[in-house]
Amino acid sequence: DSLEAQDPGPRPLELKEVFKLFQIQFNRSYSNQAEYARRLDIFVHNLATAQRLQEEELGTAEFGVTPFSDLTEEEFGQLYGNRRVARKDLRVARKVSFDKQEEL
């Protein structure tokens, strides 16, 4: 009954293995080793972000590996966000502008 005697079970996948599975699932390849390393870094960062979102989620949503997991937040915004309409509320922009004028 000792815990030490118990089979530890399957070992968790290493991040590189998870990334490899991501590449296979979403058919991703990178032009060189430097780019691969950069995308792996971004992927790991995104996994942490997804985990944080999951912990703070108030609904039933699940966050994790998606087709966009190798993109930075900025790249995702540039590729999929509608830059022409993306903006803070105009009233905020106007207020900032007004405050700057006041300062001047």
């Binding site: 995104n46 039933t60 966050f63 998606t66 993306a86 509320d89």
Partner: protein, 248 residues
């Protein structure tokens, strides 16, 4: 107003599209809105040309983003839209090469309207008229897999909206979808959770993303700014539109 509504069950929603590297969510959402409204009103299934909206829109390069009203104004200016089959999607805009006059129009609109910015009103309109377009903050969707998103405004700023999608229905989560069991609740300080009200939204990132191309947002808390610009085309010129029934 019914407790739930899902226009997908009426088979009036076209297959999920994939915008690829072209930022044309505005054109896809507008086309999806007209397709659904046309099908509800005239019982004719059409798949409309997103490419026509990209090539013929007033603003240059439709793949650099756009406004939903520009899509509707383009449909009004060209007296309708061609079918996707005749004028297929290529994933990039051909500026100054609008081919609208080359193809027969398969659907058209009379006007477009902005709905009141309250979620009760939006639900009532969707239930009695059909799917509408909304714009939301898409940031959180980068990591979304499935389920109902109920993020705080710090996670999904309702003032920063950047992605048009089609709102096709609403409902409430069933008990089995809840993450917390009775045992969990008795051991935590979390209040007992009732079923979660949600919106059903059709995205344009392909059917392999999210819940077969769709996702759900919490209903009743302006999640991700969903009430910012609820807009729909009208395909009927009658002053008082006859209500239709959405499948629960």
């Amino acid at each position: 107003m019914s407790q739930s509504c899902d226009w997908r069950k009426a088979h009036i929603i076209s297959p999920v599209k994939n915008q690829g590297n072209c930022r044309c969510c505005w054109a896809i959402a507008a086309a999806g809105n007209i397709e659904a409204m046309w099908n509800i009103r005239y019982k004719v299934s059409v798949t409309l040309s997103v490419q026509e909206l990209l090539d013929c829109a007033r603003c240059e390069d439709g793949c650099a983003g756009g406004y939903i009203w520009d899509a509707f104004i383009t449909v009004l200016n060209y007296s309708g839209l061609a079918s996707e089959k005749d004028y297929p999607f290529r994933g990039h805009a051909n500026i100054h090469k609008c081919l609208a006059s080359n193809y027969r129009k398969v659907a058209w609109i009379y006007d477009y309207i902005m709905l009141p910015r309250d979620e009760q009103g939006i639900a009532r309109y969707v239930a009695t008229q059909g799917p509408i377009t909304v714009i939301i903050n898409s940031k959180i969707l980068q990591h979304y897999k499935k389920g109902i998103i109920k993020g705080t405004s710090s996670k999904c700023d309702p003032w920063f909206v950047d992605h048009y999608v089609l709102l096709v229905g609403y409902g409430r989560s069933k008990a089995e979808e809840e993450k917390w069991t009775e045992t969990d609740l008795s051991h935590s300080n979390r209040p007992p959770r009732h079923s979660i009200p949600y919106w059903i939204l059709k995205n344009s990132w392909g059917a392999n993303w999210g819940e077969e191309g769709y996702f759900r947002l919490h209903r009743g808390s302006n999640t991700c700014g969903i009430t910012k610009y609820p807009i729909t085309a009208r395909v009927d010129n009658s002053a008082k539109q006859q209500p239709v029934s959405c499948p629960p």
